[in-house]
């Protein structure tokens, strides 16, 4: 029997962004767009959720694209190809509701492009015209452009500093595109600030908009309630009711504060880790581009 959870490939896509291919046949078989796995890499490790960026049913593999923001994601980069990852559980979360629409517009910022990918793929497979706006701080940080070009009918790229594609934020491109043609659905995934801004842009146009939320999770099965967010004034558990929600209903400020609750401890853990494995101090910058 092939090794469960074997790490098959590992590739650096951009500074601090790594692509992993893992053998997980059951996850590959049952996963649908929008779902994630929970990974634990060591006996004393944390359980962290990661979106299934792609999967290959025949090969029984799933692809994860991970940004290094703290201890666990940093330690992942040192996992050895050919060895198993301790725990991989999934697919978790409610799948994206996929149907044939006329036009879906995806908006992906930074690492958010990875979770956006399977959603664009699925809408396109259902016969929808799919376009996507990809944003990054600069050219080097833009990931998965080629994947997205394959998954979408058209891709629009922008960078904050103009080093590649259009200069400016995804919201600028978004304003322009929806002025040209109104999508049936906007799907935005990226830093919370970005999702909040996208929601602001689409709301006056009455455009249905979905965002994918990433609160701190523990079990990922609805057991702990740690991942709760307020959506339309109601408490929802992101790991089972989400991760996708109506962008115009989400309480972003609450979520942002909940995400930051363990900041001090996380910094401490990261620092300890960095000291133990001997990176230079310049590597201690926690949370790289997460909130950019």
């Amino acid at each position: 029997m092939p090794m469960m959870n074997e790490l098959l490939e590992k590739e650096t896509l951009a500074p601090k962004v790594t692509r992993y291919v893992v053998r997980a046949p059951d996850v590959a078989r049952f996963r649908q767009a929008g779902q994630f796995v929970i990974v634990r890499i060591a006996e004393d490790g944390e359980r962290i959720p990661l979106t299934i960026a792609d999967a290959d049913r025949e090969q029984g593999t799933v692809t994860l694209v991970v940004q290094e923001v703290g201890k666990t994601t940093a330690a992942m980069t040192r996992l050895e190809v050919g060895k198993p990852i301790l725990d991989v559980v999934g697919p978790l979360g409610a799948p994206t509701h996929i149907e044939k629409l006329d036009y879906v517009l995806g908006v992906g910022g930074g690492i958010g492009i990875a979770p956006l990918h399977p959603i664009c793929q699925a809408f396109r497979a259902a016969g929808t015209h799919v376009e996507a706006i990809l944003g990054a701080r600069n050219k080097d940080l833009l990931i998965l452009e080629d994947w997205m070009r394959r998954a979408c009918d058209q891709v629009h790229v922008c960078t904050d500093d103009g080093s590649y594609g259009e200069k400016g934020f995804v919201t600028h491109v978004l304003e322009r595109l929806i002025g040209e043609r109104k999508p049936d659905l906007v799907v935005a995934i990226g830093p919370l600030i970005m999702m909040k801004m996208v929601a602001k842009v689409t709301q006056p146009h009455g455009l249905k908009t979905m965002v994918s939320l990433n609160p701190v999770m523990v079990d990922g099965t609805g057991m702990c309630g740690g991942c709760r967010v307020s959506v339309g004034g109601k408490t929802r558990f992101v790991c089972v009711d989400g991760p996708e929600f109506d962008a115009h209903q989400v309480d972003y400020d609450e979520l942002l504060s909940r995400q930051r609750f363990y900041l001090e401890q996380e910094k401490q853990a990261y620092q300890r880790y960095v000291e133990a494995v001997g990176h230079g101090p310049e590597e201690c910058r926690i949370r790289g581009g997460q909130q950019s």
């Binding site: 059951d26 996850v27 049952f30 634990r40 060591a42 004393d44 490790g45 944390e46 359980r47 201890k71 666990t72 301790l86 725990d87 991989v88 559980v89 999934g90 697919p91 978790l92 523990v218 079990d219 099965t221 609805g222 057991m223 702990c224 309630g225 740690g226 709760r228 967010v229 307020s230 408490t235 089972v240 400020d253 609450e254 504060s257 909940r258 609750f261 363990y262 401890q265 996380e266 401490q268 853990a269 300890r272």
Partner: protein
């Protein structure tokens, strides 16, 4: 260890009058000491204490204690064997009907079960025999000698059963089916088997090595354990039915209830499930050696009055809280927690505030909880559960300061499997509908038991359901019959 196994000198002839004396206490850690560690609170009986306590049992002709035990352990027999010093025989007796004695001896609400109906207690004059403590003693005795014998298994039948959920219900089904020669695969959503026994009940009440031991026994019996499998997500029940001859659902009551009051999503407010999972399963007490963090509150409020609330409060103390307030809407008499745990919590300095519940939480500018606005209650008429209903006293409201709160007001049935598999019928509230005594569900070949059927109940009831289910599954595997469901299990 003393040579207690020799039965010589058993005072069989002269009638013992020990039953008139109070039951033997278990030696335990000093409260001031134990709130600084996570080690188990009681040390357990010594062989001498156990034999003394066993002597208190008057070996009734009509031993009501047996009726009080959901798995009907032959209590007088095992107690007599302890008294005679034949501890091995005592373990055997217990294990005829209870596969997890080290666990039940520790966490059963004995005062509501076997010990409640012990004839000594019935007389009102005397204290009941400490049955749970003796059970625990026997199980620990066996373990300490390092020779826990797995039950023997019948020849393989060629039948395969999938057990979903590795809590006490699932573990019991697995043992009982393996005994009968069936191939069993247990699927567990988390990375560790044990259910609430590993993620909920803290180390100081149930050491994890004990649960680990029971799980090892399963492996020795040839049961296959697959962790990280969320049935209904990782694999549908319908797919399991293609590969297995029957499926048992023991997914528990893992859905935490919140009060739905303002401020409940502030930082520093946990469900008991999250708080206990972080500390127990993820070992946050060991942060940063272990990676999972948890808030270390100094002034903590725990809302609720059950075992879960006691566990949360006592955990918070051990995590360094200066003050832990337990807010409960009713009074001490209505508290559903085990008496022993209430007693322990009190000794350790948990401050009980009865007839009190929060109305809302208040946060600081970083969205961290910094206080609660509370309401006081008085007791009114009894409600459906027979307990007197708390009625708010108009205008009697007050504020407390805090920096962490744990909501321990109860759990609902885990909705994952029924949501994914709507042809498994549920009652209102989401519990799976199952036939009394057999655990059969509305779907052919699918059985369910434990908290997913009963709602948040007890370890021993989950095990009892597991035993019944194993018997019924065995019958079904032989006959293939699935008659209309008869009387249903009710909460």
């Amino acid at each position: 260890m003393s040579d207690a196994a020799t039965p010589e000198g058993t005072p069989k002839k002269k009638k013992s009058t020990l039953f008139k004396e109070p039951r033997s206490a278990m030696p335990e850690q000093d409260p001031q000491e134990r709130i600084k560690n996570f080690r188990e609170v009681p040390f357990g009986y010594t062989p001498e204490l156990a034999r003394r306590e066993a002597e208190r049992c008057i070996q009734c002709k009509k031993p009501h204690c047996i009726d009080g035990c959901p798995v009907a352990i032959d209590i007088p027999r095992f107690i007599r064997q302890i008294h005679e010093g034949d501890f091995d025989a005592a373990v055997k007796t217990i294990k005829e009907t209870n596969v997890l004695p080290a666990i039940c001896g520790r966490v059963c609400p004995q005062e509501e079960q076997c010990e409640k109906v012990c004839n000594l207690a019935d007389s009102k004059k005397y204290q009941p025999v400490a049955i749970g403590r003796l059970e625990r003693f026997a199980a620990d005795w066996e373990a300490a000698r390092g020779k826990i014998e797995p039950p023997t298994c019948a020849a393989p039948t060629g039948k395969k059963v999938a057990v979903v959920g590795a809590g006490p219900a699932g573990l019991t089904v697995a043992v009982d089916l393996a005994r009968r020669g069936h191939k069993v695969v247990v699927m567990e959503a988390l990375h560790k088997a044990g259910g609430v026994l590993v993620y909920g009940i803290p180390e100081f009440r149930l050491p994890k090595v004990i649960v680990g031991r029971e799980v090892d026994t399963l492996a020795k019996m040839g049961v296959e354990l697959r962790t990280n499998v969320v049935v209904g997500k990782s694999i549908p029940v319908d797919d399991l039915l293609q590969e297995y001859d029957a499926v048992f659902i023991g997914t528990g009551a893992g859905l935490p209830y919140f009060m739905g009051i303002p401020g409940e999503n502030l930082n520093g407010i946990y469900s008991a499930n999250e708080y206990l999972t972080r500390v127990n399963l993820m070992r946050a007490y060991n942060f940063p050696t272990d990676d999972t963090p948890v808030c270390r509150g100094r002034k903590v409020a725990v809302v609720g009055g059950g075992n879960v609330a006691m566990d949360s409060a006592r955990t918070a103390l051990r995590m360094g809280a200066d003050e832990v307030h337990l807010l409960y809407r009713r009074t001490r008499t209505e508290m559903p927690a085990r008496i022993e745990e209430v007693h322990h919590a009190e000794e350790e300095g948990v401050r009980f505030q009865f007839l009190t519940a929060p109305l809302k939480y208040v946060g600081d500018k970083e969205n961290r909880v910094c206080g609660a606005h509370c309401q006081r209650f008085e007791l009114g008429e009894p409600d459906a559960s027979g307990r007197r209903r708390p009625v708010p006293i108009k205008g009697d409201e007050f504020d407390i300061e805090l920096d962490m709160a744990v909501c321990a007001i109860g759990n609902g049935p885990n909705p994952l499997v029924p949501n994914a598999q709507p042809d498994i019928k549920t009652r209102r509230g989401g519990n799976i509908v199952a036939e009394k005594g057999t655990c059969r569900t509305s779907k052919k070949g699918v059985f369910a038991g434990g908290d997913i059927v009963l709602g948040a109940a007890t370890v021993i009831l989950a095990m009892g359901a597991g035993r019944n289910a194993a018997q019924a599954i065995d019958d079904y595997l032989k006959t293939g019959e699935w008659p209309e469901l008869g009387e249903l299990e009710v909460k």
